[in-house]
């Protein structure tokens, strides 16, 4: 996983150059700790969320969005560039338009979230926390992604 082939197309693909993988690894470590310590990775907390019985998950997601949105707005306002001085490609209007796959895929994901009680990040973190049975859920999620890839041409989008 190194970055050796930067011979051609370096300007065409600004999102695919040499940022350090160890930094992303550390971001993952940071998130994994938070998922466990804030109990986002708890099956019980997800049950509580879908039963509207606590502010816990809503507070976490809501404040994450608030901090994310304010940060992004400030970055846009001040024209912040990446660490390497490149312009940031913010999502455009085309990606904003809702399509059938958004509601359909979102609903399928929600069905799984309510059962497994974990979304993809927490699945990785739970495996690391020493719950090998969650590896079965994670591999099932990979299988789900694979079957989606197989069926993609035939699904409504």
């Amino acid at each position: 996983m190194t970055h050796t082939s930067e011979i051609s197309g370096a300007t065409a693909a600004p999102a695919e150059r040499q940022d350090s993988l160890s930094v992303y690894f550390l971001v993952g470590v940071f998130l994994g700790i938070i998922f466990l310590k804030s109990e986002v990775a708890s099956w019980f907390r997800i049950q509580e969320m879908f039963r509207f019985q606590s502010i816990h998950m809503y507070g976490i997601i809501g404040l994450a969005v608030a901090v994310g949105a304010v940060s992004v707005a400030l970055m846009k306002r001040f024209g912040v560039r990446t660490i390497r001085g490149e312009e940031i490609a913010w999502p455009d209007a085309a990606s904003m338009r809702p399509q059938p796959h958004h509601i359909l895929g979102g609903t399928v994901f929600g069905l799984g979230w309510g059962l497994a009680g974990a979304c993809p990040g927490p699945l990785f973190a739970l495996v690391g926390s020493g719950l090998p049975v969650v590896l079965v859920a994670l591999l099932s999620a990979v299988a789900g992604a694979w079957v989606y890839g197989l069926l993609k041409p035939r699904l409504p989008h």
Binding site: M75, V80, G106
Partner: protein
Amino acid sequence: MLEVLAQPWPWYVAGPLIGLVVPFVYWYGGRKWGVSSSLQHLCAATLPGKIEYFQYDWRKKGAWHLAMASGMLLGGFLGGRVLSSPTDTVAISEATRADLAELGISNFTGMIPAEFMSFDALLTLPGLVLIVLGGFLVGFGARYANGCTSGHAISGLSTLQLSSLVVVIGFFIGGLVSVHFILPFIF
């Protein structure tokens, strides 16, 4: 310090910390933060077959997602084993506890209900539904929607994407159906 970190982290601390990842990843790599792409990359790396969805350079496109996912494994260990004990009980609300007890759950220790989510229970109906079907739908749905909680609920809403709001509505339609209409029938 360690004693404070070893307590459960309140939502008003965890939420902002997670939110900071969005601007950080944009600033550091010009990238939109999301986790579930890693599932696609794992397929592309292992069993791409002739499926068009997996025909791309996963090393180039996916190395950062996979590095982050690997970090989550270690973070899970640190958060779950070093800064907590697997025998800690999550302090869910009394109402949830009562509802789940009614479904037949008596063991509230740890992150997952061990009675139904364990290798012993894997081949029972609840085990299959929670672990195998639940996991499958998470992976299928995340790729169908082109993102999961991180990419849509957090990154997408942070950048004011209308499509992400639609996805999040879908999350709730699906989650409510699972919790209120499917779970009561499998336990």
